[in-house]
């Protein structure tokens, strides 16, 4: 089953893939496992937009609780130690899941796609699947982008046009 996970995550060599896909097609138990993994991935994917808010809201709730047994500092540290790595792990699983196949339909259809070695040898996950939200008004981030662009070869070639990112009216800093 570990191999099935690796297959999904695109971590296997192409010759191994072929072998495990043949195993999948023969063993109903493994095939069920394959389907379950895809279901988990899809659920995680559906949750993608809310994962950060979840951590934030749990954190806010905990802070709102009266502090009886421990000072707040400890609680914050606890959240950082437990909740954030958990969120990171969830994000990691999602990235891993996206490695496998771009299809939104879980199931056997993906097996056929995986027989093509090309996506498996790709070094990076399917980045298009990760959709960041537009940054909210944040003077600090704008300042960081301006500082960053000093050292970016891309910005050096774009010249002053790079500044447009920090002026863009819909998702840039409102200087408030």
């Amino acid at each position: 089953m570990e191999k099935i996970s690796e297959l999904m995550d695109g971590e296997l060599e192409s010759h191994e893939c072929g072998m495990h896909i043949r195993r999948l097609s023969k063993d109903p138990e493994l095939a069920r496992c394959w389907d379950h993994y895809h279901l988990i991935r899809d659920v995680l994917r559906a949750e993608a937009g809310t994962r950060v808010d979840l951590v934030a809201s749990v954190s806010a709730r905990l802070q709102a609780e009266p502090t009886i047994l421990a000072p707040r500092r400890r609680l914050q540290t606890l959240i950082a130690r437990v909740a954030l790595p958990a969120a990171a792990a969830v994000a990691g699983v999602m990235v891993g899941g996206w490695l496998s196949a771009p299809s939104s339909q879980p199931g056997r259809a993906d097996v056929a796609k995986l027989t093509s070695p090309a996506p498996l040898t790709a070094a990076a996950p399917k980045v298009a699947a990760i959709a960041p939200v537009a940054a909210q008004a944040n003077g600090q981030v704008t300042e960081y982008i301006l500082a960053h662009q000093e050292f970016s070869p891309t910005s050096a070639m774009h010249g002053a046009a790079s500044y447009v990112r920090t002026l863009s009216f819909k998702d840039a800093d409102s200087t408030q």
């Binding site: 994962r51 950060v52 951590v55 934030a56 914050q76 540290t77 950082a80 130690r81 954030l84 990171a88 994000a91 990235v95 790709a122 070094a123 990076a124 996950p125 399917k126 980045v127 298009a128 990760i130 960041p132 939200v133 537009a134 940054a135 909210q136 944040n138 003077g139 600090q140 981030v141 704008t142 300042e143 960081y144 982008i145 301006l146 500082a147 960053h148 000093e150 050292f151 970016s152 070869p153 891309t154 910005s155 050096a156 070639m157 774009h158 010249g159 002053a160 046009a161 500044y163 447009v164 990112r165 920090t166 002026l167 863009s168 009216f169 819909k170 998702d171 840039a172 409102s174 200087t175």
Partner: protein, 326 residues
Amino acid sequence: MRRAHVVLVPGLVLLQFCAGVVLAESLEQSDPLAWLERIARAARQLNYSGTFVYQHGDQVETSRITHYFDRTGEYEKLETLDGPKREIIRNNNEILTYDAEHRVVKREKRTPRRNFPALLPDQLASLTENYNLRKGEHERIAGYDAQALILQPRDGFRYGHKLWAEVTTGLLLKARMVDENDHVVEQFVFTQLIIGSGVTRESTRPSFATGDWRREPAGPDSSEPGDTGWTVKSQPVGFKKVMEMKRFKTGAQSPVAHLVYSDGLAAVSVFIEPLPTKRKFQEGLTHQGAVNIYTRPLPDQLVTVLGEAPAVTVMQMANSVSFKGQ
């Protein structure tokens, strides 16, 4: 000259020798790497003014840009033509952001770039390791003849780029960033442009009378290159550290650590500061245009990683930030 080279037959070796000097020059210009250097040089040293269209996601915005260069330095003005009136003025190492809607002018001090050339020679070397660089077709853009350059990334940790440079000056007329699936992440293109004469220092001055505007002296007051004690343990292959510094801010007790990693074309910055207690911050993955931003709080620190690179790249770097001690 290239065409001339093509028609030369082996028998005309002597003629080839005679034309050696001219050929060497044209070969240099035809080298895609030399083109990138020309583009970076042109962006800093030419006088130009024009209107360009900026596109990212499903947004399209028009802005006007003016760049003036003389012995006293570089002056730039970028003004939005759509939406709220905003301008960025750069006078050498000072960046002023004007927001007419809120009547605010913000000042940022830039790190002097004098000691940091636009494209470092060793960056150009790593660029060829991470991108397949080739010349494309000739195209007409904003009335100018342009040479296209294609930079195809070797993996999904960086975006693909297509650049169109004006043939005689090297000025970038159009630039496009694409993701792994060839979807446009960001694009800008001049629709009207004047290069050279007619552009004056005056045209880089702000358009507003700002006497009663609020002034925000923000930004780092100074920066100091050197070891910060922080490192990124597992950055994507091809990204090397090109700069490390401490940024000192007005009113802040501790400096902000700033590390820059580059693959020769894309750059990713890592900022580490004490966890803010008053200021709100947006955790997780966000973006401004093609710049992806990943904000990750540690127990006592806030890590902000950003760059014109795919989300997976900034996330991987943010997740491997660690303190190695000073």
